[in-house]
C-alpha cells in the first residue's frame, strides 16, 4: 500500500531505527517494509503509526481506492 511515511519521517528528521524505537516492539526492518510498501501493516500498527506522526490513518496510507473508482461510501 502506498504511504507517506518516508515524507513524514524526513520532516521530523527521524531514522527508521528511531521510528521503531518510538513505536516500541517493532524492528527497523518492519518500518522499512511498511514504508516501501512491501508489507501492509495490521490495523493496530497503522493506528500506532498514525498516533506517532499525529495524523489520521488516511493521511498516512493510500489504499488507491480513488484510482480504481471504488471510493468508500460515506
Amino acid at each position: 500500500m502506498r504511504n507517506r511515511l518516508r515524507v513524514l519521517r524526513a520532516e521530523r528528521g527521524w531514522s527508521q531505527g528511531e521510528v521503531a524505537n518510538r513505536l516500541g516492539g517493532v524492528s527497523r526492518q518492519a518500518v522499512n517494509a511498511v514504508e516501501t510498501g512491501k508489507h501492509d501493516p495490521t490495523l493496530e500498527l497503522a493506528f500506532r503509526l498514525a498516533a506517532l506522526f499525529d495524523a489520521r490513518i488516511e493521511d498516512l496510507f493510500d489504499p488507491e481506492l480513488a484510482q480504481k473508482g471504488k471510493e468508500p461510501s460515506k
Binding site: S15, A20, N21, G25, V26, N32, T36
Partner: protein
C-alpha cells in the same frame, strides 16, 4: 576513484569470505561424513543426508546470529545499512530468540539420525532417546511461542505466509505421491523422508519470503 577502490576492496573481502566459507563447509561436511560412517549411519537414505545438511546450516546460522547479537553496533549496521544506531534491546532479544530456535531445531533434526545406530544396537535405550527427542520438541515449541509472542507485524506475517506456502507445496507433492501409490507405482517413502521433506519445503519457503521482504539496497539508500 575512491568509491571504485572501496568497492574493489569490498568485493575482495566477499570473495575471501566465500572461499573461507567454502573450505570450512567442505571440511565440516567431510568431518560429518567420517563421523557418520563411524557411527554406522545409513548412507543410502537421501533424507538422512539432507537432514544432516539442514541441521548443520541451522546450527551454523544460530552461532552466527548469537555472535551478531553480542555486538549491538554490528547488529544495527546489519539491520539498517549505513546506520550508526546500535540495535535496540528489542532487536537483540529477537535475534537471540531466533538463534535459540535455530539451535534447538538443528539439534532436534540431527539427534534421531545420530542416535539411530546406537539405539538399534541397544533397544533398551530407544525410549530414552525418544523422550529426549520429545523434550527437544517441547523446548523448540516453547521458543517458537516466545518468538511469536514478541514478534512484530512483519515477522508474524512472514511466518504465516511461510506456513501457507509450505502447506500448499507439501500437499501438492503428497498428492502426487498418494496418486502414484493408488496407481500401483510404489515409491519407498519413510516417515523420516516425509518429515525432512516438509522441513526442507518450509525452510525454503520461509527463506524465499524473507528475502523478498528484506530491505532492498535501493530502498536502504533512499531511507537510511
Amino acid at each position: 576513484m575512491t568509491s571504485t577502490r572501496v568497492s574493489l576492496r569490498a568485493s575482495g573481502r566477499q570473495a575471501l569470505l566465500a572461499l573461507v566459507s567454502a573450505l570450512a563447509g567442505a571440511a565440516c561436511g567431510a568431518g560429518m561424513r567420517i563421523w557418520a560412517n563411524r557411527l554406522g549411519v545409513e548412507k543410502a537414505l537421501w533424507s538422512v543426508d539432507l537432514s544432516q545438511l539442514m541441521s548443520t546450516v541451522m546450527i551454523a546460522g544460530a552461532v552466527f546470529l548469537a555472535a551478531l547479537a553480542a555486538d549491538r553496533r554490528r547488529l544495527g549496521r546489519m539491520l539498517e545499512a549505513g546506520a550508526e544506531t546500535p540495535a535496540s534491546a528489542f532487536e537483540v532479544r529477537q535475534t537471540l530468540l531466533q538463534a535459540a530456535v535455530l539451535l534447538v531445531a538443528g539439534v532436534a533434526l540431527s539427534v534421531p539420525t545420530m542416535a539411530a545406530p546406537f539405539a538399534r544396537a541397544h533397544p533398551e535405550t530407544q525410549a530414552a532417546f525418544l523422550a529426549g527427542a520429545a523434550g527437544l520438541l517441547g523446548l523448540q515449541t516453547l521458543l517458537n511461542l516466545a518468538v511469536w509472542r514478541s514478534a512484530d507485524d512483519v515477522v508474524r506475517d512472514l511466518a504465516l505466509k511461510g506456513v501457507n506456502l509450505a502447506f500448499w507445496v507439501a500437499q501438492s507433492l503428497f498428492f502426487l505421491w498418494a496418486a502414484a501409490d493408488r496407481l500401483g507405482i510404489r515409491a519407498p517413502f519413510t516417515p523420516w523422508d516425509g518429515y525432512v521433506l516438509l522441513m526442507a519445503i518450509y525452510l525454503l519457503c520461509s527463506a524465499g519470503l524473507s528475502a523478498r521482504a528484506a530491505p532492498s539496497r535501493a530502498s536502504l539508500r533512499a531511507t537510511a
